[in-house]
Subunit: 385 residues, 4 copies
């Protein structure tokens, strides 16, 4: 696909990691290098600097203009969640292929509009749940598909962090519902819900609970005008309007039971995204903090030699791994994004779909919204189909 | 306490491990050896043989007679759960100190009667949740009590096993509600609920779900007359009447969130009893399969040197450990029972209470019953106080 | 073997753990309980107290008298190494079966006399290298014998401790060559050398080095008269005459390469006895601090599903394990001794040999002495056969 | 340093990873992007293709011409070891800064010439021992330098692989002494020797042993004319002329003891580069297969809360880590090279030295050569200074 041109919207964390992925994919995989046409951000200076650092041809601060350009084939949306729908739908209407960071949208209503627009456009879409592309996760998927686990009984996952454990950590935008949509539920439960659906299947019903442990926090510097309440020390405080933790139980359509937990209050857990799947023939486990390792227990091993194996998924036979280094050479976080770009570019070249597409991302959103509603109503909620 | 005499009822798994504990406690701890007066079982021959193996003076098949004996100070009830109430209450009425295996009873109603009888008798009682006495768990309790974790946010525990994973595993008594009361809920969730209450505090409300994955199983040899349904292979099948898995969410009275899971369908998990507690100042984790190790993360360590520590709880300064071997010499499963007997004998000698007593055991039962009712009604249920 | 009677010499650490093993073996294994006839120690009061605690019929302070008794079948020598030869040879001459704690003797010369006396007596002897009887180790032996590793290339082991890391730790007897024979070489390298010979085969030649990091230490309380050298603070210091660390390389007769290390200066390592064996078909690893776990990697697993398995050696099919508790219930340090007593008692009953017998213990001694001589001469030394 | 231009020689494994590092460094670190001027390889087509993949401006097959170019500031030598000296010395004579892959040379004689040429040129040189730049290793260095370990007693390291375990693995160039210089000794022991010198200090004397387990192997396809010996199956076999395993003991100048082992015959060990350092105040451990984790045990922790900590070296305060992602997001193998390029570029810009420079690389070479000579002579060998 020579001449295939990309525009990326967003210059923060996700903007950087996607930029690196576009820049790197053709160094290691047999695809034509995507042409990095334009990086789009809000701050002109920052955007220009970052464009230079990662090799984007141009920098822009006008996403509408960028999307309207004829020379752009793929639009990658790495902006905050409340802008996903507007941007992605506009890009789809302009006939672009679209990657959208997760979660697909802050509401199911928006996600539905996005999925509908994607269907109408007929282009390739991707909801960027990057962890599907860790070699160990992709290999687990292969194992499950070929029946290594047999019937699945349990999925249990947790995504634990601790970055707001300090009560003096400021009231950043991620702690305000109007911007972020939710707390760890949309941020972290989104990932493990996508994993659950990818590896086990669709979820039928959920029952959840949430909690905000610290209800007031200092406003970030320069935001004193919001919420000042005359505290003695002059500390301007504001209200946390998202949950600090969110747990839910689930029943899958295939009869498996699920347990999900996301929190930002687990001291020492930095990026503790783990899951375990128990099937009739064995168990698989994964932990993002040791992302190249897949744990497997097989009931088909000899009875006195059974045990959990640590499979180091860096062999040539493991998904994606062979393109990098010899066995035993570790891949890191950003490789999952490079693989994501590889798969999107390949899907576009072959005229196939990428997964998870917008329709798929919508379903994850529906599970999350059902869980949130369950927490509010203290009832089990069916996930709509 | 020279001349302190014990009767033990039960010759199965728990009967053996309690026997060993009585026999061993005075070899390592500074207490007078309890006199092992009588072992009581249903099968005369088996009981006599086991009494000989463990050094009981006498064997008996008549528990009423044993309890009536004047020379018995302590009765240890290791029989199946449906007989706990009758035996324990009789022993209490006879003025005995009483140890009762967990769960305290199959129903809250029975547990209440037992707790009332204990209160009336005024003797020492113990619900035998042995894992409180693993040195690592007892040390965690000390750390929490002195404030090492600060305010607690999360408790998450699971107790996973796999011994009935094979659908051809027979329909043993533990899979029949009329005898066992419940499946892994009363067997395994009981342990982690006791841990939760011991380490974190009382539970206010719960919401659970259960599932029976395999509904029919072969009857054990010699039970063909029950439930034969003329299957082709002539296999006599019976109905599983307990759950195979049980999960619940919980809110503690102190505001912490809890997550509990018990199953017998987790391939490779033999005795996977683990918990993690997240507090404002750190995290503690424990795993029964590595029972001497306590994981600790402290936010008070220097920022660039923080990490989960594996504390090997075999030092002289750790609870119980100093009585055994030098540091680094591992203790095993049965040591937790020896410590239990030590504490009961010591409480009796000092005229204090042992913990968890029957009242304490009742509360665990109330949590379990609330969770089971929640699973049946699909509603959050408050735990009565 | 009803009426089989035992005398145990020694009341310290090893005396306690052997006592417990004699007391426990018949509770769990199908053997007649050994009659615990007499415990023999230097201090009459301590010996009597300990005899009472563990259930020995009598206490004595005269080992010669004990050995001369007609009613004693088995003598268990748990005294310091410099007395092993005299006692064990006397017991053998008296026609007794003899267990002797490791190392068999402080010198090869003594060990040879002991092996010769054993041969002449024709009774059962055992050099008490207890770790051979950890179920995971015994299972590893089975796997190697049936060819699971194929040709063996490497054995690497280390036994690390840290109990004298503090320079103010006193000059206890274990730090004086005249009593202890050597430092960690005879104490710890002895264990891993026995493991090497048990699991891999005989050692042909060795090359070692040793070092004493702290050359002077405070004398223990009450020993001021030895070695006082008028230090300013009045601290009476004495000379450490054993090594603090000992390492050696080895070539096995079968062509494998070996690496051995023992130290008391490895901060945080309490009882870190680990080994790894690499063969043409796989690798086995073991760690005493997680003694129920055996690590296994097999090249016969499917290429993309290979990995180190953690085999929890608590299944009924694992050596010794089935006699204790259900799968997943951990055994501890002292179980290895109970298994040792089981095997000795069984060998005596069946008229077979126990392993490692005195001849076998002598060979380990020869390896150790060769390594020590190598360290002194800075040359490779052949192990005599 | 705008306009700073680089030439890279070599298109294999190291050529790829260095290319990626040059391409990536300025995306994440505040340096001007090095201008990737020319990639030089033996095969014109392969070199051109790879230059395109990684963004080199030109491709060349003539290294002499490349080195002679005025517009090149830095020459990066990623060719096989037997060509290092000629190329690097030529580049130094041409006044270039030079990076050279490890080991610096196949012989000490060559390495000396290189170090002398470097001294004369006065430009920046680097021997590319990349693992010094893993954040966890660099952080360990900081901890040691500020005294967290105190006096060091032990360094033990091993670097285990298994890629030639299969006797039918062909006789590739790495198994021929005339090309490769040595087997795992120069390949793997080189890395852990560099680590030892970096973290602990200079080595005074060594004693080693080596072994070739499989002496004949099938010739690679197309090499039948070498060494055919008319085997029955028509398999053309050739002689392995390097060692398969190499171990050595060492004494450091500061009195610490060292243990080193490298092998290609450790089944299941893919890239098992681990080391442990024991000091008077604590222990540090690292494992390349979990490269972001640093294990630390501190004797300054409270006695009952001591334990090995797993420090996840992904915090902003850890070396290099802050430039990448938030805490808990894993770095991989190639990041160590990006950090290496960063440090070289920074040293050049600042006019300082990079480490390890050629002089430093020479010393590692001297240790390796002494160990190899020791293995041949079966004597302890002093490392020259």
């Amino acid at each position: 696909m020579p001449g295939f041109r990309v525009a990326l919207l967003g210059t923060q964390f996700m903007g950087r990691v996607h930029s690196h992925a576009f820049r790197t994919v053709a160094s290691f995989f047999p695809v034509d290098p995507p042409e990095m046409a334009v990086l789009c951000g809000q701050d002109a200076q920052r955007t220009a600097a970052q464009a230079a650092k990662f090799g984007w041809e141009e920098a822009s601060t006008d996403w509408r203009e960028v999307i309207a350009r004829k020379d752009i084939d793929l639009v990658d949306v790495c902006t905050p969640g409340d802008s996903h729908a507007e941007i992605a739908i506009a890009a789809l209407k302009a006939g672009k292929h679209v990657i959208c960071e997760k979660p697909l949208a802050n509401t199911v209503a928006q996600a539905k509009q996005m999925a509908a627009a994607a269907k109408k456009a007929g282009t390739v879409t991707l909801t960027a749940y990057n962890y599907r592309r860790a070699p160990a996760v992709a290999h687990a998927k292969r194992m499950i598909e070929r029946g290594d686990l047999g019937r699945i009984y349990h999925f249990r996952a947790r995504y634990l962090q601790d970055w707001i454990l300090d009560p003096n950590f400021p009231l950043v935008w991620r702690l305000r519902k109007e911007v972020a949509g939710s707390g760890p539920h949309g941020d972290l439960n989104a990932h493990i819900t996508d994993m659950a659906r990818y590896l086990v299947g669709e979820i039928a019903e959920v029952c959840g609970m949430t909690k905000t442990f610290i209800r007031k926090r200092p406003l970030p510097a320069g935001e004193g005008e919001l919420g000042r309440r005359g505290s003695k020390k002059g500390a301007a405080m504001g209200e946390v309007t998202v949950e600090d933790a969110s747990l839910f139980l689930a029943r899958f359509e295939n009869g498996a039971l699920g347990s999900f937990e996301a929190t930002r209050f687990a001291a020492g857990r930095k990026n503790h995204h783990t899951w375990e799947i128990n099937g009739e023939k064995g168990t698989l486990c994964w932990d993002l903090e040791r992302l190249n390792e897949l744990q497997w227990y097989s009931t088909e091993d000899a009875p006195t030699e059974r045990g959990f194996r640590t499979i180091l998924c860096t062999e040539a036979g493991h998904p994606y791994a062979g393109a990098w280094w010899p066995a035993g050479h570790m891949l890191g976080y950003e490789h999952t994004f490079t693989h994501e770009i590889l798969d999107v570019v390949t899907a576009i070249a072959k005229g196939t779909k990428a997964q998870p597409d917008f329709e798929d991302g919508l379903r994850t959103q529906q599970v999350l919204e059902a869980a949130m509603r369950s927490a509010e109503t203290k009832k089990w909620i069916s996930v709509p189909r």
